[in-house]
Structures are given as C-alpha cells and as structure tokens.
Symmetry: C2
Subunit: 367 residues, 2 copies
Amino acid sequence: MAIYAVIMAGGSGTRFWPVSRQSIPKQCLHITSHKSMIQETVDRLIPIIERDKFYIATGNHLYEPIRQDLPDIGFILEPVARNTAPCIGLSMIHLLHKDPEAIVLLETADHYYQDEELYRQHLLGAISHAATHNNICLIGIKPTYPATGYGYIQQGSPVNDQGIRIFEVQRFVEKPKLDTAKQYASSEDYLWNSGMFIARAQVMLDEISLYMPHLYAGLMKIQTALKKANKTDKKDEKVDIVTREVFESLPAEEAISIDFGVMERSKNVVVVEGIFPWDDVGSWASMDKIIPEDGNKNVVNGAEYAAIDSSRNIIYSTSKRLITLIGVNDMVVVDTADALLLCPKGREEDVKKIVDKLKQEEMQRYL
Amino acid sequence: MAIYAVIMAGGSGTRFWPVSRQSIPKQCLHITSHKSMIQETVDRLIPIIERDKFYIATGNHLYEPIRQDLPDIGFILEPVARNTAPCIGLSMIHLLHKDPEAIVLLETADHYYQDEELYRQHLLGAISHAATHNNICLIGIKPTYPATGYGYIQQGSPVNDQGIRIFEVQRFVEKPKLDTAKQYASSEDYLWNSGMFIARAQVMLDEISLYMPHLYAGLMKIQTALKKANKTDKKDEKVDIVTREVFESLPAEEAISIDFGVMERSKNVVVVEGIFPWDDVGSWASMDKIIPEDGNKNVVNGAEYAAIDSSRNIIYSTSKRLITLIGVNDMVVVDTADALLLCPKGREEDVKKIVDKLKQEEMQRYL
C-alpha cells in the first residue's frame, strides 16, 4: 500500500493582498520562511511520502505559478472551482486509476507546523489506522486558545488504545462565538477541525457514493474516460472534456465542501487527537504566531524599519523601502512595490473587502 | 522708496521628512499647491513688490535646489547658520548697500494664506507706516484657535486711526500651554507672532546696533568690504571671506533669533493686527488646514487610495503606489519612492526624532 499526498491549492488567498495577486496565489508566497508555502508543504511531508506520489489539486489559472515552484510534482486540475468535495472526488479517481490500494493524505498549502516531526508522527499513526480500517481519519488539533476562526470536533469514544490517540466523532460544530470557543478550548473533548484527513482512496470514494450521488455518477464517467484513454493513448483530451462536463453539470447542492458533503454525514469518520502546534495561515494576523517578535514586540518580515514608541505591529514588506513608525501600535503594515496596506490588528479579514473594492473601482491592475 | 522682500529659507524642514530631504528642503516642496512653497511665496508678493527686489536668504547648501525653483531671484548666502538675527542683519547690509532708503518685508517660505489679497492689503498698510515712522512693523495674526505652537503678542494702544490697525506692543509671550492659549485666543488683545515684519532697513540696522553690539560691529565690517569691493570689482571673494569671519566669530549670545535679539527689547516695535487667515506650514498636521477633506473626511494629496471605514487621515504621496486603509483613523501616511512614514495625528512634531534616529542608525541614505 503506497501513501500519496494531495495538496489542495485552489484558493487565491485574497486576504494576503497586496502580496498575493491573481498571478501570485497565497500558496506561492514566502510568508513562513524563505520557501513558498507550497514548497514547504511538500518538503515537510517528504520524510514519509515519496516525491512522485505528490499531487497538487488546483485550478488551471494557478497551474503556471505553482508549477514554477514545484516543477517535478504532478497536478490534478479542476476545470472549474466547485468547492472541495468535487475536487477531492476527482483526486480519488485519479489516484485509484494509478493505484487501487492508494492511501491518501489530504493537506492544504496554508498550514504552519512548529514541530514537524511531531506532526509526521501523528500522520503515521493515522496512516496505520487508515490502512487497516474502513475509516476516514480526520486530523483534529488540541486547541491552544479559544479560536473563533475554526470549526470544532467533539470527540467520542477512543478507537485505539496505543500510540497516537484516535476517537469516534461525537459531533461537528461550526466556527463558534468567543464564549463558546472558550468553553470548548478549556474542555478536554473538543478539537479544532484542521480539514486534513487520511484514508484509503477507495474508502473516501465509497463514502462519496453514499452521500453525493450526482458527484459519484460524474466521477464514474471520469473513471471510464481514464480507462479508455489508457487504451487509446489519447488520454488528456477526452478525460479533460468529460471532467469539464461533470464539473459544469454538477448540481449546486453537491458543489459543496467535503465537510458538509461527507464528513458530517459519514459513519466512518474518526478523529486523530493532534497535540502538535498548528496554525492555519489564513490572514496577516497569522504572522504573529509564525515570526518571533523583535525587541520592540514588532513582528517584522523583509522590511528595513525605524520606529519610535511603536510596538506589537506586523510589518511585512516585499519592497526595498524604509518603513518608519512613530507612536503606531497594533497595526498591520504590508508594503509592496506598487501597493501599501494599513489596517489595525483585528481587521485582517477585511482585506478581502479591499480587494472587492479594487475590483469595483477599476483598479484591477492591483489585483 | 523702494520695497524689497527678503525670504528667509535657511531651514531644512525635517518635520516634512520623508518628502523633505537634505537636498530637497521644505521650501522646495509642493505641499500647498502645484508650485513649490518658495515659488508661491514670491508669486504671492509680486503684485506689490518688483521681481528684481526679491532676495532669498539661505545657506550655501540650499542655494542649488532653491535656485532651480527661482532662477531669476537674488540670493543672500549665510556662510554658516547663526539663527535669524545675524541672517537679517546681513540682509539689511546688502539691501542698504544697494538702496539706503530700502523698505524691507521679511517673510519665510512656509506660510500659507487663504486670502492673498487681504494679506497684501495688510502689507501695504504696514509699508505705509514703516515709510513714515522709525518703527519695525511686526505682523500679528488674530488667533482663530488656541494654538500652542505659536508665540503671542499682547496689543497695547493703537498707533493709527484708519485703515489697517496697528498697535503698540504690550508684551511678547512664548508658546503657551493649552489653557493659557485658550484664554489668549478668546481675549481681544492677543495676536499670534507670525515672525514677519516690515521696516526700513536702516531702522532695523539701528535697532541691531542698540541691542546686539557684536553683530553690529561685524555687519559694519561686511559693509566696508562691500564698499571696497565695488571699487575694485573683486566683489564676491573678499566680501565672502569677511562675512564668514564675522559669522564664525560671533559670540553665542548673539547667534540668536531676531525675536530675542531685537523685537522683545526694542522700543520701536509695533504690531499690525492681521485679520487674514494664515498658517505656518510647520508639519504634516498643517495639511488639514490647507487641503480640503474628501467625502471620507480624509485629506489626500498625490495618492491613489482605497479605504474602508477610514477617516480623518492625512495621506500625502510622491510615489505612484496605491495606498489602502482598513479601519484606520486620524493617521498621517506619507509615502515616497524609498520611504514610508506612519504616525497618528498629534505626533507630527516627532518626525524630527525619526530623522535623528536615521542619522544615528546609519540610514543616512534616507536623509
């Protein structure tokens, strides 16, 4: 049984504007280190997954920038974006076509791990479970603070008695308000839903067949096209046409996330209790958790700066300009060659709104 | 009797960093309009003073940038900076050498006038008084708010009974605290000290002779050198040498402002009650008074910007970059090709401190 990794990288990451652009998606940004986030994701998994068993699942428009970062990695291209369930279904079909016994780790390109070795130990525990059970192993994370930006999973009974701890799922809960999040974070039986999972590809496909009949029927058409293409050597063209037809004709109620489509309905989902430090690198606020403070309690990446009475700022620069601050606190300053962003901490989610505004106001050249 | 203008422009205006630099002094900035501030100053006075009767008093290091703005205007160059009294004394010597009857208006290059015609009417009133009295006519300004950044002049008895109102000086007071400033601004007999004055050059020189004996002795040496130079046609060199000797050997107690050196001691100072809107363009805070607010109550000059929930900001840009703000209020944002400044309103005076910090921290290339 071989282990495959599918890295979902279909988003554009507008919350990282002005560094992320239409042609430079978030996963290609060098936010967490000198490598791009997607390069880091691959490198982090290389100790347990062979390089030729990686696939990037993304859209056509992101193929080129990501390929430049990872020229030797395979791609599974969605013809149009239809949320994560169809993307994952398509990936399962391609993996199964290659290897009917495939075990797959599904990751995204925007996770940050402080202790990579500990993370990989958890993955190996989950792989071991997935190899021997008809379960989807979701990776949960022990909360370290009352996050309101993540969904939670309430743990049920344990399903194993040694090594990495794995539990039944009692219930899924959506992103909570702060009071509820505090309750969850201080309790012993809630985990963050990281969105990562490990399963045999066939198990995942079987679950799709149970809960997403339209998607499943479409995936079977793609599977048939793949098999035919193998015989005729006219692989790509015909498969691409069928895939596009399937994606474009998918009813809206099945163009949904894998969480809604499968995880929250399936009776075969278990959750791994992840005790490794983890963060979703979702907005500029994440910088605080990734980059150490300097002597002024400012988190600075790439910028030459001078400050007076200024602290707890996030300063990120891809320009060569000097940034100076006087009496500025708790501010996010992102500087690029052609655009500057300023917002106080706590408003980072609204960077999306600025991007929307630029679209409306005929400033598309900055997108 | 001819009217001359001496425009003092010796300062570098570090409070306008990063737009002002060592090679681009404040007076050459285009802050108040599309013209530089020193060009504006000349143009504002041209209706009442002939172009060949203007002089710029400044230091050698600022000669070149200012000359580029005003190629046809004469210069009086201070060999070293010794505050305003020596600068004014030197100017009087040069004017008197050219025209013993000269009446001089002394202005600086950083004043802003909303109603230029009204301002000129006041000047003509003061010129008329100066032509017929042995007085120095200081221009006072009726306070429009309790400024703590200006000195005040308490008015005494009126010295004329028609036209522009002129008063004896009861007393000078230094920049007050806010409580006192409120008291002054609401009373009927305090004026801001604008620093401008009008006098016959000989009257000013006579007052210097009374209160600043070392300076006066030095000025007499320069006068002698000027007269000799006229005869020998070796004008510049010898005069320059003597001027440098006089400035460099001036005792510290006379390297002071004209306010301390003459105005506050002289019995021949009167004050014009200026009722025209006026501002000293002293820091980025001045932008609020000069540039109208846009629909978001932001004062914007030169910048393309997009904002959400952001108001009362001062945004000044000489770069071509897009500036975006989310939830940012009461902030000063100054953007240039190689440096960015951020400071909340109220901290604009501390821009000087950032400039000092750059000197210390080996970032001289930004000065």
